[in-house]
Symmetry: C2
Subunit: 459 residues, 2 copies
């Protein structure tokens, strides 16, 4: 198990970058970050001229391994994906011109249903965890399917690979195909409980994998089912994830299915599903009143721009949500989203914010710094790991990625094994390098990935 | 020179895909395309069971080389980039929150100005031509800078590498920095003529490189300068490229600078710059009357969605432009656009069309097939190569790319050297494979690229 491999002390030297706040990207060119045997950041030094001076300064770091960022490389916090469906990855890139409800029927339900097979699930889930790790995702909130054994298998794989994960067994007892649904409310609750128990048995500390209660969304669950899951969350102290207000026909459908509720948000509120440990994906078409309810309950938001664009769902008003004080992270929402990469999601969040700006006001635009914040510290807050991961502060754990960029030689060719599509011509500041990575980078630039100081991916 | 290397007969076997019309993607699973020594498609066979039968059917093809697409691979027409700035590539990914006019001052003019240096230009242009080729671009309409020697160098590089190119020396004699402008109208015309003459001298047939007259855009050129360039185009029979109606402040500026003109379009019309050989980039904010003028003049449109989104310029109403009967291709518009990849531009065209659909009507959405058409046959019409490249028909030239996708093995890992981010699980139809490529593919999936039957890039 990668998660429990013993590690020695390591000092990460050179350039590191991380978000201090929503608007502030801290780039340190001559840094040294000491990570101890527990994977915890023991010290951070800046303006380091000689690494020997750092080693002298701290007792017991004589034998520490020293890892250099390299001249154009830098260390960056691991990404946090606050919403994705591991079970839908075989459909990544297949959506055509469908929108949410037709997409579910055409692509999603048949694929998820097929993951009752343990061997198929092993292939799909192993592949997808490899993918998300290769894109620098160190923590991921996963939806599996309704099947308990393969949901548990996904948790096994994450634990084995050392990726932090929230793993959810999907519940759905209405408006779902005959071939893929919970037979009853008690089945939905019982099977959710079984998966919670299993996941807690394999990682009692919850340091790497944790269960998460996962009603698919209001149109798939009766009020009784939602209430049963709310009760289960209360009894077991488990996190919750579901979808809200993704597209307009869905909002209308919820209005029809739950005529006694004031709003989509009210459906979940009534069921006891809005808590500080709840992650709601999308939040595209909420009323001001709903936003206030979410804020008061401490509910967190997963912004999924790639999916919202691909399925023509709409543009989430992220600036407004942030201004009100909601906590927002990014989610790839595969396979409504077309990429398991949070770096791609950063770009998509920027594009969506520009489309909002075209229709409303210029300050809707999200900056490079802001989307990187959502992808790291914002995401950490969403998944309940605030202060533990998402940035580089003493006492936080080393969930990080080593980014390497390609240098253009005289004559025009790139050099270096990690030469993806980023071209550095030599004039770039450290901030320019981060920008070039965000707009032109991909998994080729993610050389190494660590969770709690353990290497979990290497290119 | 790659362009003039003698080649033997080659038969490309297996799966090929190309666009028959805007809405029709033709995928042939058992195909054989014979390409002769001139790089011209001599025959196309479908439903081929045995390649020997094809060889027997055609005289003189006994010794032809046979190249297989591979089971999950396919041959696709080379992409046509109808608008990009080779000189701005060092700035790719650097734009921050600027919009068009501030972006020009901050990033673009200083960078372009520095390309007076032959050694710097050699590095930047060689790098960028390598990049566009690696993304499968077989024809590219390039803006260089105002400098004649380095503009000519770009043409030399394209000819040497065998990439079809329109290469334009940029003209700008007003509202430009003191350090980077044409001193006079006669200088603008004379230098343009010098570059036209040089490019025609190195490739008299114009089969690979051609000159293109390139006023930057109306705000950079006096009416006299525009008229002089219109006259030069008439006298020399040269193509023309410029920008139109990219963002609203720019449209307003043109209104102020040319008070006697009815519209932005009218400024170019008055100067004699609207011809069937004219490419106008952007066309985001045109009136219905302007669109009619463009149509009547036979002017072509380069849609640059990545750039329009990155610089918050607006969403071009592509469906409307197509419905009126305008000819549209795609342009990467580096470095307003953040990627030299037309595959990325295909995705961006889809996203922009979805944002238009969110605000207007669902039929604004462009399908996968439609953007691939714009990227190939549409682009060929825009750059004057209609019927010659952009599709696979007998008599057309073999400008093509070999796409290879990654297969997921049991257990979840990918196999194959061309395993980028596309995961094939084995259930996919040929159409699914094309879709997965469009949404998840990148230059890793472009194994080989040919122009006129000559190999110009290999991974």
């Amino acid at each position: 198990m990668a998660a429990s491999v013993p590690i020695g002390k390591t000092i990460y030297c050179g350039t590191f970058a991380h978000c201090r706040s929503l608007s502030e990207l801290d780039i340190c060119a001559k840094g040294a970050i000491g990570v101890d045997e527990a994977g915890v950041i023991a010290f951070i030094e800046r303006e380091v001229e000689e690494i020997e001076d750092v080693i002298k300064k701290y007792d017991g770091w004589n034998d520490a391994e020293v890892l250099q960022s390299g001249e154009s490389g830098f260390f960056f916090p691991g990404f946090i994906d606050t919403h994705t469906h591991a079970s839908q990855h075989p459909n990544t890139g297949l959506f055509g011109k469908t929108t949410l409800l037709s997409w579910l029927e055409t692509y999603t339900f048949p694929m998820e249903s097929s993951l009752s097979s343990l061997s198929k699930a092993a292939t799909v889930y192993s592949n997808f965890v490899s993918r998300t790790l290769s894109h620098g995702t160190t923590t991921c909130a996963y939806y599996a399917t309704i099947h308990v054994p393969t949901t548990n298998l996904l948790a096994d794989i994450c634990l084995k690979r050392g990726q932090r994960a929230l793993v959810g067994r999907v519940c759905m007892n209405m408006m779902s195909p005959e071939y893929y649904r919970d037979a009853s409310v008690s089945d939905a609750v019982k099977d959710s409980k079984a998966s919670i128990d299993y996941i807690r048995s394999i990682d009692p500390s919850g340091d790497i994998v944790k269960p998460i209660i996962t009603p698919r969304f209001a149109p798939s669950c009766t009020a009784e089912c939602l209430a049963g899951l709310g009760q289960l969350a209360k009894e077991t102290g488990t996190s919750i994830q579901t979808h809200i207000s993704e597209n307009k026909p869905e909002v209308q459908l919820v209005r029809e299915l739950f005529p006694e509720s004031k709003s989509y948000t009210d459906v979940y509120d009534t069921a006891g599903l809005l808590t500080p440990k709840t992650i709601l994906a999308h939040a595209v078409h909420l009323s001001a009143e709903e936003v206030q309810t979410l804020k008061q309950s401490g509910t967190k938001i997963s912004h999924c721009p790639a999916s919202n664009t691909a399925l023509t769902s709409g543009c989430a008003p992220v600036r407004q949500l942030l201004d009100v004080g909601l906590t927002v992270g990014l989610g790839t929402d595969v396979s409504g989203g077309f990429s398991p990469s949070i770096l791609e999601e950063c770009r998509q969040a920027i594009w969506v914010s520009r489309f909002v700006a075209m229709n409303t006001a210029d300050d809707a635009k999200l900056s490079t710094e802001e989307v990187l914040y959502l992808a790291t510290r914002g995401g950490a807050q969403v998944v309940g790991l605030d202060g533990k991961v998402g940035g580089f502060d003493v006492g936080m754990e080393w969930d990080a990625q080593h980014i390497c960029l390609g240098a253009v030689k005289e004559g025009g060719e790139q050099e270096g094994r990690f030469a993806g599509n980023v071209d550095l011509f030599g004039f770039e500041t450290a901030e320019d390098r981060v920008n070039k990575w965000v707009y032109s980078g991909d998994d080729r630039n993610t050389k190494s990935v660590w969770v709690r100081g353990r290497l979990v991916h290497r290119r």
